[in-house]
Symmetry: C2
Subunit: 381 residues, 2 copies
């Protein structure tokens, strides 16, 4: 194998664009100086359209989980009732965080690989009128499901006064999101997925309604107190030392995203999803999710007659290509291909053509080139 | 198109491995200090097997042409007769250099796309016994031809006392070379091809016979005087300021090459050539060279019924994929795909699948996936 070649097709972290890598290699600057002020001033307006909000987007130095925890500790207090819609491993993370804070958690489980049906949530909200917040996962990384957050928001708001809080870690930047218009009260994402950065930053925006709750909320918190971030951001500053190299990279990511155009980026992600799905369909290998539930950022494949782990091994050892396995009870049952952020249709074609070879290597009798061809046809439209 | 993605598939420069890029980003060190001495000491023995020689390989800061000029000005003087075997644009470069120094040049032209026949050279040498040096191109970058230098060396040595001087710029590192065993008297290569570095270094080794000529040669020269490089290299030094970041990168390139293994590297290049050729054959698109004359590092394609330049334009604009056009009279007639250095079979598959899409985009009616499939079959053997 060619030394030093790593093809990273897991659902985050994703490869870093060369110009972003260069931006992150700039010499350190003081985080209380004028240069960092200018940096934050430049970044601030450019994050808003990615979230689809007029609100400032707070930048917390931490991983996505820190952002999810911030969403919890700023909005609810022990004994409060919340509903967590768990469609996979990352939905469960909300449950664990809420449990850690003695929040009374109603857990609505959806079978892994399926999206939540907004109607079901309606019943829940009617039955438990004390629910103060509904937590949902936009893209469930563990299954490649994109939940219908726009419809969920509508249901939540028409049947309760609960805040609608969304984990958008593995899709924001890669899919359309209209936080304000749809009625998302709190939206969280991370830096290492469609945002094309290494992990280390989490982004969070809140609606006016959510800010009211946050301001009144008395849950003890310090580092994750959102008000601090908002008040500092107003002065183009951060409350604590920021991961400065990531901010330098973020500035360049936003330049690249602006160059390509948000709509074009969303279209590219949708195209990569369709190419990937068409390829596996052509090879007669089952997909975990239905078309309607599929995320433009990650695709889970559920082999019927070969070992997912055997395939992953060949891909890694023979080509340096990393795809993800299944999590929890899906371990060994599925494998997941990330196609988000710094990933192109050309990369998807490369992945598929390598998967085809590797399938043959593990003894699965497929027609070479058939998946590639199907993906090419989708590209040509 | 995904911003910032460049797929570089021209026959040099080639992409730089990430670890080499990192090595080149190290802080500068003094080129007369102990650290550079250690660096050269470590590099020196590792270059030899790549050339297939027990001689030290001189490292000159300059492009490949500087190496070719060094080959001329160290071995012949005005009025000397030489034979240049010109199989393409880079064979002609030897002619131009020799002309600049008033060397009496016999030029043996071979049709572009064909390799030289050693038998023809035999006749030449018998007819012109005064010929002091024979210049040949190992891989002719402009056509993707690999000339039979082993056989040429045999013919030169059995029919003359001439030095056999070889331009190996676009293949050394990617193909087997046994300089000593085959009888190459002077071998030159550059850094930006199969050596996986940016341009800026040229490497040159000379046989004992060649060194005798070099020592006696009175052609005026300064920077390109090979004796200076040899004498300094013996003391792990360079006669002039070296391109130090490239030396730091070279050290890492040699580590990577050692990790993969020279034989495996040659096998990878042969495989990439065969995959590329099989793909275009399957698509019924003519190759410029015959199998026997084909180079493992670059493939020239000669379309019969579409515009090479139109295809190149779509590849670049739609996918950021750069392939080379034709040079001189081949301009517009051919396009050339580089598959050398930091390039893997996975990259070849990506290139082919993109070429297939782009062919359809310019209106050429091909069966999608057919070329990819042929390349996959070659990979699986």
């Amino acid at each position: 194998m060619l030394s030093d070649q790593q093809l990273l097709r897991i659902p985050g972290p994703t490869p870093i664009p060369p110009s972003v890598q260069r931006a992150m290699s700039q010499p350190m600057i003081g985080h209380r100086g004028q240069e960092t002020k200018e940096l934050l001033k430049s970044i601030k307006p450019k994050l808003k359209p990615i979230f689809g909000t007029e609100q400032d987007v707070a930048i917390i130095t931490g991983s996505g989980t820190a952002g999810l925890e911030a969403a919890v500790v700023n909005t609810v207090t022990p004994g409060d009732e919340v509903l967590v819609i768990a469609t996979g491993a990352f939905g469960e993370r909300f449950v664990k965080i809420a449990d850690a804070y003695q929040i009374k958690t109603h857990r609505y489980d959806v079978e892994w690989g399926e999206a939540v049906t907004p109607g079901a949530i309606k019943e829940y909200l009617t039955k438990y009128p004390a629910i103060k917040a509904v937590f949902a996962t936009f893209c469930e990384t563990s299954t490649g499901v994109l939940n219908p957050v726009q419809e969920l928001a509508k249901v939540v708001h028409s049947h309760s006064d609960a805040l609608f809080i969304v984990d958008g870690v593995s899709c924001i930047g890669g899919v359309e999101c209209k936080m304000d218009e749809w009625g998302i009260d709190l939206l969280v994402t991370g830096s290492q997925k469609a945002m094309m950065l290494p992990a280390g930053l989490t982004f969070i925006a809140a609606s006016d309604r959510a800010w009211k709750t946050i301001e009144q909320n008395e849950q003890p918190r310090f580092y994750l107190g959102l008000k601090k971030y908002r008040d500092n951001l107003e002065k183009d500053s951060t409350p604590f030392t920021p991961a400065l190299s990531l901010l330098l990279g973020l500035e360049q990511v936003l330049t690249l995203m602006n160059e390509e155009g948000l709509e074009q980026i969303h279209e590219r992600h949708r195209l990569m999803m369709e190419m990937t799905r068409a390829a596996f369909r052509a090879l007669d290998i089952p997909l975990l999710t239905s078309d309607i539930a599929a995320s433009p950022t990650v695709t889970a494949i559920k082999p019927a007659d070969f070992e997912a782990e055997a395939l992953r091994r060949v891909l890694k050892e023979e080509f340096g290509l990393a795809v993800a396995g299944g999590q929890q009870h899906m371990k060994g049952e599925i494998f997941r291909i990330g196609h988000m952020g710094y990933c192109s249709p050309a990369d998807v074609l490369q992945t598929i053509s390598i998967v085809e070879i590797s399938l043959r290597k593990i003894g699965k009798d497929i027609e070479l080139g058939k998946g590639t061809q199907a993906a090419q046809e989708i590209y040509l439209g």
